[in-house]
């Protein structure tokens, strides 16, 4: 798809009158729909099922005629037509990378990454070092942010997650200017630095942070700014693995401006109908993406729109904070945990008859406790044999003379859980039989912000 010469740039789009911008965005929307319909078989099929033709979709309002594409639908589609469920609009061998996110769900590296639509130019980051603590492995977060930072002229230190003490040393030695990651990980680093005897404000050069990926980051952002003088750039950034950046905060830090290279709707998750500003609903995105044009992708995240003008000069609507998930999955320390995943991890242990994962947030950090009920008479060996082994030969060691070795079991569950969910729980709690009612929710979010 060629870009027309007369097309306004992202900064221009962000500052024009809403009516004029709508005209441009709808034009691009029509183009991407026509393009996707032609190149991505799954799009054509979805349209046919809904009895709509690309020509029927002229305005954003018309999008309501197309059923939303939910993450679960996409997972099912990918299973049926691997690896991209019929949504890939370019030849496979032109892809630079393929990622996997929990689900499992595969994401091709798109052209529209985590950065396009940003109003900041390629010289914005010149002369500054940024530590990128998003994980570089498997999911698109780390590499996506890395690419964006480099395109803005920053020098990236690709540290990834974990190794807190080493992160402190790097931040100190290299006089790092900026941090990218979750607010709670930055807090962990600052705490560690202080524990190591540093005066964070004096001994470090950290000037800004781009933090996100967690709900409830506001108190921490306030702490970073007020106590440590770390400017939280853009307030929050909202992105998902499937469609990239959806909204970015500005220097006024009052909500997140929605991107100009996608159509973002807020809809009633039940009916798929669009909701107005001030109404809570699910964020639905149609990215202008030539590689992977997911039309009307339901993120599962709940938020609402503000359409009053912002003091920063941008006229784009803003999302308030992300208020929760429309489905059952919860986002913990920046990673989504689905009941499907926890089932997968726990099902390997016939010693466990019931479980419940409880998420709380005692002090600016998401905490996960896995409550488990043990099977009454140790293990049913026949059943155990049928389940794929989680730990190879050590599998049988948990039950000795009918008694489960809890420490060993916890270690093994911890490993299986991490393998599948990519985050780890803080502790396992053995509860008496009957504590977890039949049919109880497997993941309970008890966080209060």
């Amino acid at each position: 798809m060629e870009t027309k010469k007369s097309r306004p740039s992202p900064p221009e789009l962000e500052r024009m009158s809403p009516k004029e911008r709508q005209k441009h965005l709808e034009e691009r929307m029509r183009e991407i729909i026509a393009y996707a319909y032609e190149r991505a078989p799954a799009v054509k099929e979805r349209f046919s099922k809904a009895k709509v033709k690309p020509d029927d979709i002229r305005t954003v309002k018309d999008l309501e005629r197309i059923p939303m594409l939910r993450k679960d639908d996409l997972i099912a589609l990918q299973k049926a037509t691997p690896p991209f469920g019929g949504y890939l609009a370019v030849p496979m061998d032109t892809l630079e990378r393929i990622y996997q996110s929990p689900g499992p769900i595969y994401d091709p590296q798109r052209k529209r990454g985590f950065g396009s639509g940003s109003a900041l130019g390629p010289d914005f980051g010149k002369g500054q070092l940024v530590m990128n603590t998003w994980s570089y492995h498997i999911t698109p977060a780390g590499l996506g942010v890395d690419q964006l930072l480099r395109s803005m002229g920053f020098t990236v230190v690709p540290t990834g997650t974990g190794n807190t003490e080493l992160q402190v040393n790097i931040m100190h030695d290299l006089k790092v200017h900026g941090f990218c990651g979750t607010p709670s990980f930055l807090k962990t680093i600052i705490d560690k630095a202080e524990e190591m005897g540093y005066d964070f404000k004096k001994d470090f050069n950290l000037k800004f942070a781009v933090v996100g990926g967690e709900m409830g980051g506001e108190p921490l952002r306030k702490l970073f700014q007020e106590k440590y003088g770390i400017f939280c750039m853009g307030g929050d950034t909202y992105a998902t693995a499937d469609v990239g950046t959806i909204a970015t905060g500005c220097e006024k830090q009052s909500g997140m401006h929605i991107t100009t290279d996608a159509i973002v709707e807020i809809v009633d998750p039940e009916t798929g109908k669009q909701l107005g500003p001030g109404e809570e609903g699910e964020i639905v995105v149609t990215p202008f993406d030539e590689v992977y044009p997911l039309i009307r992708f339901g993120t599962g995240d709940i938020s609402m729109l503000i359409d009053e003008p912002c003091d920063c000069g941008r006229t784009t609507p803003r999302l308030t904070k992300i208020m929760g998930r429309s489905g059952e999955a919860v986002r913990v320390r920046g990673m989504f945990v689905h009941p499907k995943q926890t089932d997968e991890a726990i099902s390997k242990f016939p010693e466990i008859r019931a479980y419940q994962l409880v998420v709380t947030r005692p002090q600016h950090r998401d905490e996960m406790v896995l409550k488990v009920e043990l099977s009454e008479k140790g293990v049913d060996k026949e059943k155990a044999r049928a389940v794929p082994s989680a730990l190879g030969n050590e599998r049988w060691d948990f039950t000795v003379k009918g008694v489960v070795d809890r420490e060993k079991l916890e270690a093994a569950v911890d490993k299986a859980f991490r393998d599948v969910c990519k985050v780890r729980f803080d502790r396992m709690e053995f509860v008496p039989k009957g504590t977890i009612p039949e049919g109880a929710k497997r993941i309970v979010d008890e966080r209060k912000y």
């Binding site: 061998d93 290299l174 794929p388």
Partner: protein, 427 residues
């Protein structure tokens, strides 16, 4: 300063005569030395200390008196001259990325054209290209390995799945579902994945689409590779490199040693004399990659390999080395001679009665004393006196110094994981 000339296409260079290639590389080196001495103060200091005038360098032969730059010296330089050791030719904020290796060494991300041409050519030569989907299991966080190989693969037209290390089960799933055609990572980790896949009930030949596994970086991977090829029908390849200089050698389809990549000047240096070795001998791999971002001149890898003299059947004329044979640091200088585990190993392999062994160097008076401790599999039916004589003779010959005594020890005296030669001298 004159601009750097571009090297001819590497497909052309790899077929050139050694003389022709040498001439081109010497020309590049001349430019690189001048450039590095101007932009990298620590390199300038190395030349000054060795009394070599950068402007008088016209080829690698002129650098024989420049002491090697080894890893521990590199660590010291990074400590003394933060943040980049005075070794990188651009300011830190002009780099795209800064990596962190143990030391700490803050490795720069390379932007040199020759560097990336070398990597693309190397990846293509090892057998990856457009249409391949490769699982890259080298670590992407902190160290340069993962992101460097990722970029090399992508530049070579490959679609990369950036899995990184760990999560074995997930790796199996991804490889299976995405029909990956290739694997890049360590030999040990590849075998973990294969084992896990079989445990999960998958048939590697039928359920996987793996064509080529480039597994390397480890010594003694030979038997494993044979298994991978024969049992699972997956071709294997090898690449060799270090965090500091990137990839520098690869195995071609002839699978008979590793070619030095184009764009790298190789010297094979004797750890005994410090001089260039002859083909057929074993020495340290010393490289000077043509790389203006991070010009490490005469970088001593510390890795030992043999230099192969015969031309390769693949048609490439580039220098060739054997698989890695050990580390320089493993050698113990005894009575003036370096003795190295790689000499001891083949000698001891001749004695099937031996379970464990260890050579111990002590210094009771003013003379180095060499004891060979031996643990037998069984003592039954063994004439110890005779065996001791045989061992003494064979090992003394292999080490080129006389073994003072052979000592039979009980089971457990030699720990399971041990150095083959241990230095217990106290001065």
């Amino acid at each position: 300063m004159k601009a750097q000339k571009s090297l001819p296409p590497f497909e052309v260079m790899e077929k050139m005569s050694n003389k022709e290639r040498g001439k081109l590389l010497d020309e590049q080196l001349k430019w690189l030395v001048a450039y590095a001495c101007e932009k990298a103060p620590s390199t300038r200091a190395r030349f000054d200390q060795a009394g070599i005038s950068p402007s008088k360098v016209s080829g690698i032969k002129d650098l024989e008196n420049l002491p090697l730059l080894r890893k521990d010296a590199l660590v010291d330089l990074y400590k003394a001259n933060p943040p980049l050791g005075g070794l990188v030719t651009v300011p830190i904020t002009e780099l795209e990325r800064v990596y962190v290796s143990p030391g700490p060494i803050y490795d720069p991300h390379h932007s040199s054209e020759t560097y990336w041409r070398r990597h693309v050519h190397l990846v293509n030569s090892v057998g990856f290209g457009k249409g391949d989907i490769v699982v890259n299991t080298w670590m992407y966080n902190l160290v340069p390995a993962g992101l460097m190989i990722d970029e090399a693969l992508r530049r070579a037209g490959v679609t990369v799945i950036p899995t990184g290390v760990g999560n074995t089960e997930l790796q199996v799933q991804v490889m299976h579902q995405l029909k990956a055609t290739g694997f890049a990572g360590s030999t040990g980790f590849f075998m973990n994945i294969i084992t896990k896949a079989e445990e999960m009930g998958l048939d590697i030949r039928k359920d996987f689409n793996l064509r080529l596994a480039v597994i390397g970086g480890e010594m003694g991977g030979g038997p494993i590779r044979k298994t991978v090829e024969e049992k699972y029908g997956i071709a294997t390849g090898d690449m060799y490199g270090t965090a500091d200089v990137g990839l520098i050698a690869f195995e071609c389809s002839a699978k008979n040693g590793m070619h030095i990549a184009e764009g790298v000047i190789l010297e094979m240096i004797s750890y005994e004399t410090g001089k260039q070795i002859e083909p057929g001998e074993v020495g340290e791999i010393v490289v000077t990659p043509i790389d203006e971002t991070y010009p490490l001149i005469r970088f001593g890898t510390g890795d030992l390999a043999g230099l192969i003299g015969e031309p390769c059947s693949c048609g490439r004329t580039s220098p060739r080395i054997t698989r890695l044979l050990g580390r320089v640091g493993d050698a113990v200088r005894t009575r003036g001679m370096f003795i190295h585990p790689r000499q001891l190993e083949p000698a001891m392999a001749k004695f099937s009665q031996v379970a464990q062994y260890q050579a111990v160097v002590t210094r009771p008076g003013t003379r180095d004393d060499l004891t060979l401790k031996v643990e037998l599999k069984t003592e039954e039916g063994i004439n110890k006196e005779q065996l001791a004589d045989e061992l003494n003779q064979v090992v003394s010959e292999a080490l080129r110094i006389k073994v003072d005594r052979v000592e039979f020890v009980a089971k457990g005296v030699i720990p399971e994981w041990h150095k083959l030669i241990v230095d217990e001298r106290v001065y």
